[in-house]
């Protein structure tokens, strides 16, 4: 049973207008069955003038996008309480609201902001959770995402991943005879506040996060050949890590941040290498005549998954660092590639070909069951949220490359089309704060 509120939601525009070019918008296309009804009341601004940010809207959109919550429309709200005394439970029961979130936003010294929030269980007529988040006022959206994370965790038992970031590549076609523009962009997890980190007339691809989320790596063709770069997000400082003949691609940071797995074809065909980032020493972990590519670390750092066509068609294999043993892990279908592993070490998302179309599928490493999550034809580059709940991927909508997301259970779906150009190669950041 679809909740009509979700169906009505249609198009939710979330974007802050910082450099309109790479802005993503959000269109929710499918919600989960039986979402929890929650009312997120506009937070009361504790100062003169208008609030700098509609934080309640950010929180509401986060919860809605997860597919697990159905928001109560503001226009239906009979009052806008910001303290417990102002809460009249019968008003919210009348709207079939299960939970009610209220709060206050206050300016603090040195351009800071503080969000105080309270969550109520409407049926039990009791306050069940409260807290606050504070930080720079300019980071108001991130504070709101952090509140959404806390609410999500309290109600689902799973840590929220809204206060995270995305990397993606957008491409604006150059037009007749001209080269395209490639942009590597970082945004909030909802696509808001995009920042262009790098712009090039040569291809950019394979953005990857360091586990500390302070550095990123990617492949740039700016030298006329593919090369792996790393870049510090705070300083913008870049460093070219590889310059080998042939492919230099698919960088993947180890969970301890000390090693980078990568693909090099310097010895004739693409193989997986591990680079010790301190010494730059390379260790070759695959060596045969097949294509080996797309390394992905298991969260414990003890083994890696990669794609190989050593059996004739691309399939996922697992390499164990201690035993140096390689085992094949996908057997269903002719094309399984580009695995990414959830933090639980159990769910693996990958690209799976079915009847000629490429879909995103999730493979459970314990049961060995594979479930196809998407139904569009050219789905690729799956990236899993740090809490394992959602998978972001690239697909085509019409003739345009767009990002889309699906929950790991397949229940909720949304799209993040760009206002301009093609968007691809999403990479969901790790958690930005220690728990």
């Amino acid at each position: 049973m679809k909740n009509p509120a979700i169906a009505l939601l249609g198009m939710v525009l979330l974007c802050a207008a910082i450099g309109a070019r790479a802005d993503l918008t959000i269109e929710i296309t499918q919600g989960s069955d039986n979402p929890t009804a929650i009312a997120v009341v506009p937070f009361a601004w504790q100062a003169a003038g208008a609030a700098p940010e509609d934080v309640a809207q950010v929180i509401e959109s986060d919860l809605t996008r997860s597919g697990q919550f159905a928001p109560v429309a503001r226009t239906d709200m009979l009052g806008l309480p910001s303290t417990e005394e102002e809460v009249f439970y019968r008003d919210w029961r009348a709207l079939e609201t299960e939970y009610l979130l209220i709060g206050k936003a206050s300016p603090t010294p040195n351009n800071g902001m503080r969000l105080d929030y309270e969550l109520f269980d409407v049926l039990r007529q009791t306050r069940v959770f409260s807290g606050y988040e504070s930080g720079p006022a300019s980071d108001g959206r991130m504070l709101a995402h952090r509140v959404a994370d806390k609410i999500y965790e309290h109600l689902t038992g799973v840590r929220g991943a809204f206060a995270t970031r995305l990397l993606y590549v957008s491409v604006t076609r150059g037009g007749a005879g001209n080269k395209d523009y490639y942009r590597l962009t970082m945004s909030d997890s909802d696509g808001a506040r995009p920042i262009v980190l790098l712009e090039s007339r040569e291809p950019l691809l394979a953005p990857a996060w360091a586990p500390d989320a302070v550095q990123i790596a990617y492949v740039s063709f700016e030298t006329g050949r593919p090369a792996i770069f790393r870049q510090d997000l705070a300083t913008g400082k870049r460093e070219q890590l590889t310059n080998f003949k042939g492919l230099n691609s698919a960088p993947a940071w180890s969970p301890d941040g000390k090693t980078m797995a990568m693909v090099l074809s310097k010895d004739g065909n693409p193989d997986i290498y591990l680079m010790d980032l301190a010494t730059r020493q390379l260790t070759n972990i695959t060596n045969n005549y097949a294509i080996e590519t797309e390394p992905a670390w298991m969260p414990d750092g003890k083994s890696l998954l990669f794609t190989s066509d050593r059996g004739g068609k691309p399939q996922i294999y697992r390499y164990d660092l201690a035993s140096k043993a390689t085992t094949r892990i996908t057997f269903e279908g002719n094309y399984n590639a580009r695995a990414r592993v959830a933090q639980d070490g159990r769910n693996v998302v990958l690209v799976h070909q079915q009847d000629g179309d490429f879909h995103i599928a999730v493979l459970d490493l314990v049961t060995n069951r594979m479930v196809t999550l998407t139904s569009t034809a050219l789905d690729e580059s799956p990236s899993i949220a740090p809490n394992g709940s959602m998978v972001l991927y690239a697909t085509k909508f019409g003739d345009r490359g767009i990002l889309a997301a699906v929950s790991v259970d397949g229940g909720a779906k949304f799209r993040l089309p760009s206002r301009e150009g093609d968007v691809r190669e999403p990479a969901w950041s790790p958690f930005l704060t220690a728990k």
Binding site: D180, P203, G224, T307, L378, K396, D399
Partner: protein, 184 residues
């Protein structure tokens, strides 16, 4: 010359340049009425232009004429070799074209770049590897037929540089290719 019919927009852009070259350097060709054939010639116009410039300083006019003939023969094939889906095997059309290019390159010291490309199906990293396989497959054939390895650089763009942007076989067929670029 069936492979010519899939030459894309990129190629037709060079059409006017091809006519200039054809008119100034050749009096033997007359079948320019076929737009497709002209487009194919255009695709290799850059190579022919550069070769013509390089040979201008040569002393032997007979050798120049022969070199020019070989250049034009290669140019007529175009500088793009096409591939079947998920394949890096050279097609008979690609081999015929390559033979002409090898003959033209044999008498020069030109260095070349072989740029491998794929269509959009499949993952980007796998396609980078597939594009490299295609470029290497062209390189290996050239080396086997006498072009020194050091004169050739094979690189892959995977699916990042399409000629046809849409989906469907008509676009995909244009994108599964290796482009021969004369560097100097």
């Amino acid at each position: 010359m069936k492979h010519v019919s899939v030459a894309g927009k990129f190629v037709t852009l060079l059409l006017s340049a091809a006519f200039l070259v054809a008119c100034s350097s050749s009096s033997t060709k007359e079948d320019e009425e076929a737009a497709a054939a002209a487009a194919a010639a255009a695709a290799a116009a850059r190579a022919a232009q550069e070769a013509a410039a390089a040979s201008a300083s040569s002393s032997s006019s007979a050798a120049d004429a022969e070199r020019m003939r070989l250049m034009e023969a290669a140019a007529a094939y175009g500088n793009v070799f096409y591939f079947a889906y998920d394949s890096s095997l050279l097609t008979p059309e690609a081999i015929a074209s390559l033979d002409a290019h090898i003959a033209a390159l044999a008498g020069t010291n030109s260095t070349i770049r072989l740029e491998g490309h794929t269509d959009e199906r499949g993952t980007r990293e796998y396609n980078l590897a597939l594009g490299e396989r295609r470029a290497n497959s062209v390189r290996d054939y050239m080396v086997l037929n006498g072009i020194a390895n050091y004169r050739i650089e094979a690189i892959s763009y995977g699916e990042e540089r399409p000629i046809g942007y849409g989906s469907g076989e008509s676009n995909w067929a244009q994108n599964r290719r290796v482009e021969l670029v004369v560097v100097n």
